[in-house]
Symmetry: D2
Subunit: 302 residues, 4 copies
Amino acid sequence: MREIVENIFHELQDFKDDAKVADYIPALSKVNPDLYAISVSTLGKENISVGDCSVRFSIQSISKVFALTLVIKNIGDEIWNYVGREPSGTAFNSLIQIELEEGIPRNPFINAGALVVIDRLIDIYNDPYKQILSMVRELSGNSQIDFDGEVAYSEIENSHRNLSLVHLMKDFGNIHNSPDEIIDLYSHCCSLSMSTEELAHSFLFLANGGINPFSETVVCSQRNAKRINALMLTCGLYNESGDFAYRVGLPGKSGVGGGIVAVMPGKLSIAVWSPKLNINGNSSLGIETLERFTTYLGTSVF
Amino acid sequence: MREIVENIFHELQDFKDDAKVADYIPALSKVNPDLYAISVSTLGKENISVGDCSVRFSIQSISKVFALTLVIKNIGDEIWNYVGREPSGTAFNSLIQIELEEGIPRNPFINAGALVVIDRLIDIYNDPYKQILSMVRELSGNSQIDFDGEVAYSEIENSHRNLSLVHLMKDFGNIHNSPDEIIDLYSHCCSLSMSTEELAHSFLFLANGGINPFSETVVCSQRNAKRINALMLTCGLYNESGDFAYRVGLPGKSGVGGGIVAVMPGKLSIAVWSPKLNINGNSSLGIETLERFTTYLGTSVF
Amino acid sequence: MREIVENIFHELQDFKDDAKVADYIPALSKVNPDLYAISVSTLGKENISVGDCSVRFSIQSISKVFALTLVIKNIGDEIWNYVGREPSGTAFNSLIQIELEEGIPRNPFINAGALVVIDRLIDIYNDPYKQILSMVRELSGNSQIDFDGEVAYSEIENSHRNLSLVHLMKDFGNIHNSPDEIIDLYSHCCSLSMSTEELAHSFLFLANGGINPFSETVVCSQRNAKRINALMLTCGLYNESGDFAYRVGLPGKSGVGGGIVAVMPGKLSIAVWSPKLNINGNSSLGIETLERFTTYLGTSVF
Amino acid sequence: MREIVENIFHELQDFKDDAKVADYIPALSKVNPDLYAISVSTLGKENISVGDCSVRFSIQSISKVFALTLVIKNIGDEIWNYVGREPSGTAFNSLIQIELEEGIPRNPFINAGALVVIDRLIDIYNDPYKQILSMVRELSGNSQIDFDGEVAYSEIENSHRNLSLVHLMKDFGNIHNSPDEIIDLYSHCCSLSMSTEELAHSFLFLANGGINPFSETVVCSQRNAKRINALMLTCGLYNESGDFAYRVGLPGKSGVGGGIVAVMPGKLSIAVWSPKLNINGNSSLGIETLERFTTYLGTSVF
């Protein structure tokens, strides 16, 4: 496996296409576009990493998986009263579907759905910021992980689209807390700064039936781990989820920081990072890396 | 496994909800709503069947998998110039997406996409009817399988929605042959009459890396088998695909005849049948059966 | 003419359908549903009024005409860089069109368009509240006209839909000022409290080529008066504008307070009021009244 | 008036923009792009014409007014069970609105609506082709007017979009006759070949309360004449109707052959022709001509 990972890393050193670093918030646009990292964590406790695997970056929408896991742990299937579990067929930040379907977002991985999940977290916890942090720290085994204030505030200042979504859903009665409070927590979650090593580590519970393989603690039930994997497979890469399933064949979740995490149930988790995004907002080199990984390994969920 | 299948069958004998037999064409509406069958075929050559497992029914949209497999075998990735591979987020027969995306259907399992696949088949073969039949007969190991003329003609007479889709795509230049020819072949494919035993048998190549386990012939490459599974998982149950992935966790394909086929890669295929459909056009008892199957077995692709 | 007005008033005393008083903000829902008034002002200085013609009510969207007039007077055709002049074909508060057309609302009489107009007013004036008030006071010849604070604040508290529109347009760069500031001025304009007598009076400049017939001052150029009439005719009654043109045949503007004002160029203006709204948010009895008015009079713009 | 017309004609001799002759059917694309004509007919029996005013061209969608008038004359308000009277807000050939609103087109001047009107005509008459012809011949006072077979067949061969509309509406139950029959009559109506002189003549009944001023026969009731004018004003220029009302201020109807007819109720009708179309499918020079006409004349319906 190490050889496969290293081969891919070398093959793709000079990968070039017209992908570009996210520029919708200033704090993200400053990232070095040439950074590239791959980290694999296996249930057999093997850790393989190449490239800039200990450089932390903004995990952005990958945080939606942590938020959903925390909510499901608390209120279980009740969350599905507020958000669906179907692919949206529209862009990650579209208002059209929300208006046509009266305030219920299609799934928890488009922005509107994640904002609903964040709204639920604020209802559940007095200290949701602390809960998210302590969850991510425990999963990654690293107590230094933190929000990136600069990214969070940059995000908050550029949140008109998300505010539009929140106000629309609030108009339909599907949001309980104040829009500003929701945007603040949402933006902080997006700003979580992690390396591919830490991300691979943190997602291993989803390959392990919901159990953190290091601490042996139950993060969520086996059933819910499978379901979160199913949601990642059908909805994890925005409007490119079908293509990702077709090319890579693993449940995965991407973020506009350029990270992608994927899970091979019963075996491993893998995190890749390259900041340059394709037109769907997903790391172009990241998807290419993962496609080669499952092709060379000859294994996917299919 | 036999015990699991029999238990589910008995548990669900009295399953009741507000699902109803398809009534959009007369030929389908006459089916006895209480028929119920489950058939499992494993790579270990085990065959388990309960209920009305040898009664043939109209496989309808399940035929879209056969048509796609036949096209991919012939022109490979070229098919993706004509049709996408993303979940549509809209109803199976919607024109909206086709208009907004200029004649390119989202995936080969919504009607528009399947009509494009059929159009390609007419281009490839002089005798596409014979090719489809011989493929299905070989896969199922039963040379008696045939089109149901009554269903096909009932379908053709009620094909205004599909004709609307074909003409719209032809206007965008994404259809080569005559609309009537396409509707005729499409309707005949939908009218294929098969039992759950035959269907489970026929889909086993997708659990076996593209190789028909009985004849050892290559139906498609391993890569394409995985990709067809990926497409079924993200797009196989119309606008309920995400929910099916969440509840059942297997690639699957449904038809408005009430059949659903699912694949557990490396292990087995399973076909279920109950004619009563939920609001999404999928067999309600069929989905319930499959959800219990993967739950009791403790296995899914996730 | 007096006879016609009085006849209509009596004919429709017992008018009944399933129209209902607006209930989306508490302040509006308390209005007596049986109030009914008609006021006509002619260029020949005749004033005809029947019913509750001096009772003030919330003019709501009728204020959009005042705001547009004030903006056009200041920046002329420049306003059309920010907002279109086509009927929208969608509900007055829809976000769909705004998303598809990248932040440019279809016309100044749907909410999104009016919010853009208000945004321009804030740019133009240090004291836009005062400017609006002084314009309306001058047009109506009544210096007592004022905002209704209770209605305005009720509106502000229930403005999630409008905030969603403003944030979406701000995301597209089509809004300059703060969303809260815009909502505040917008809600105050909507809360303007006027009687049918005052409204008929205030709209007479649009029947008079832009000149206030009482003060002889130029409110806007003749060209712009005609254009504002054209906009009212194609877009003035939300998603019922075509029907209103068909039945009544005059440029008009309605509000969810139950008022409707219409203009017969070169002749007169007419204001009607009945708080019960049809499903399009227009006064049902008001439309019926105006249809009879142009029918009995045998005159419309057509 | 003659002076005004001649001045405009000379001012605009060298009018240039990026408008282009329709190329969607071969028969239309061959027209000389530099042809230009203006014809005015007044109720005072004055006829003013300049330029290529006796050259016949394909009236295309202008024929929708004749078809609607013929239907209304026969079944009156019953037509509104099949088609609405609101601006559509979408392109003239869009399927989206038809799908969302379940087969009922927004108005009789978008393609879908006109196809419904044609379907009704086939129900009403044994010989609808003859009826249309005899109506147009009587209105224009010219018994030579005829369908242009070449244009009609070119149209029929390129009618996939319209067939898509017809089949979609038939699926919703809003079409009675065979799609091919409807497309044939529709295409023949579009192919009617008329000069601006003949068109101005033919529309004069709409300026005259429904009465043909030459023959004194009643074409439709006064009420219906006004209503047809209202429909032209709100829906007559496809997706540019609001703009046309704003700039020109008259009820009008355009066709992709480059003709536009407008009506000044109580006074006159005017037909203009220049084959080059703007992006909305309307004659660019034609609109400019009409805008100057109402501006120089200082009269519009507003």
